[in-house]
Symmetry: C2
């Protein structure tokens, strides 16, 4: 993050930097989500943002750092996770399934999450970013909120079912899963998330 | 498949075609699995196979058809699925989990399945091939073998958990899931596969 922090530190002194960085972020977000990690380059992002390619390196350092910067989750985990995990244990699977599916049914949320999953699948450098994001931003707070036995394992099992649902319904679009109403999907995966989060594990 | 069938029909008349096709298949299989669908081209496959690029088009028609040809499952679904699905209902989740994990723990099986999942995530053309393969080769036979209520839905739910496990443990490598012994993974996902396959759905 050195390059990126440096870019930020300098931006206070140079009016216009903030707009440039925003334009680069917007272009990168779109290209990573639509073309995947592989086919997005510092140069293609610069071209779309209408800036010199050297500015992209200057502000963000590397493609991997740019990816980490823009592929944010479409929600604030520190606000959402305690809310979902708190409350009665018997409803935790349904609450989490409802939240995940509501994010995925919103176009912006779907684009960001499928973008993350697509990118993670495409290249080890992107997978490393996604792994760190999931571990720190989601599994860590979830484990802390759960506070039960094996919270990290429970979180990663939930992650496997959520990522699999993203792939099966939204990326590969396997039927009949792809065409089900959202509330049906919530009902179908709730018992599984409930099991992973709150029932005894093998 | 017209181009491909034409290639096959001609091969009977030209000795050496079979070796050439095998070399192209081997190179394509390796590149699709290791570099993904995007970065594999007819030209890069030809280069690695040591053949003229026009021969790749001649035998296989298009990149998508070449992909469909070589990204076979690392097992014969028509033999495996009835064996896994048959027998006592109470053990179906454990049998399927055991089979899936045993395939994924073998290097060749892991390379093929992660290759399929990576490719499916990377581009719509590859996702279409994977969707058709999963639907016809796996979900169809599984639905026929299950013969219970909503067999297609059950199959696609199982698919979501299996693909998610491939992503979480073998591609993104989320901990602690990535480092667990194989038999622990079998034990952890068995109840979920059991639920999807044999218990009442919401």
């Amino acid at each position: 993050m050195t390059e990126q922090s440096r870019g930020r530190a300098r931006s206070g002194r140079r009016p216009g930097d903030s707009g440039t960085r925003d334009a680069i972020r917007a272009a990168a977000r779109e290209q990573f989500a639509e073309q995947g990690y592989d086919r997005t380059s510092m140069r293609s992002v610069a071209l779309q943002a209408g800036v010199d390619p050297t500015l992209v390196s200057h502000f963000f350092g590397s493609k991997q750092k740019l990816f980490a910067e823009v592929m944010q989750l479409p929600f604030d985990p520190s606000a959402v996770i305690p809310r979902v995990v708190a409350g009665d244990r018997a409803g935790i699977g349904t609450r989490l399934a409802g939240f995940v599916v509501s994010v995925l049914e919103a176009p912006e949320g779907a684009a960001r999450l499928t973008g993350l999953v697509r990118a993670a699948a495409s290249e080890d450098a992107a997978a490393a970013v996604v792994r760190e994001r999931i571990t720190h931003d989601i599994l860590g707070p979830m484990a802390a909120a759960l506070g039960s036995d094996q919270p990290e394992l429970r979180g990663s099992l939930v992650g496997s079912q959520v990522v699999g649902m993203v792939m099966a319904r939204y990326v590969v679009r396997i039927e009949p899963l792809a065409s089900l109403p959202a509330e049906r999907v919530v009902a179908l995966i709730s018992p599984v998330l409930q099991h992973y989060l709150a029932e005894p594990l093998a």
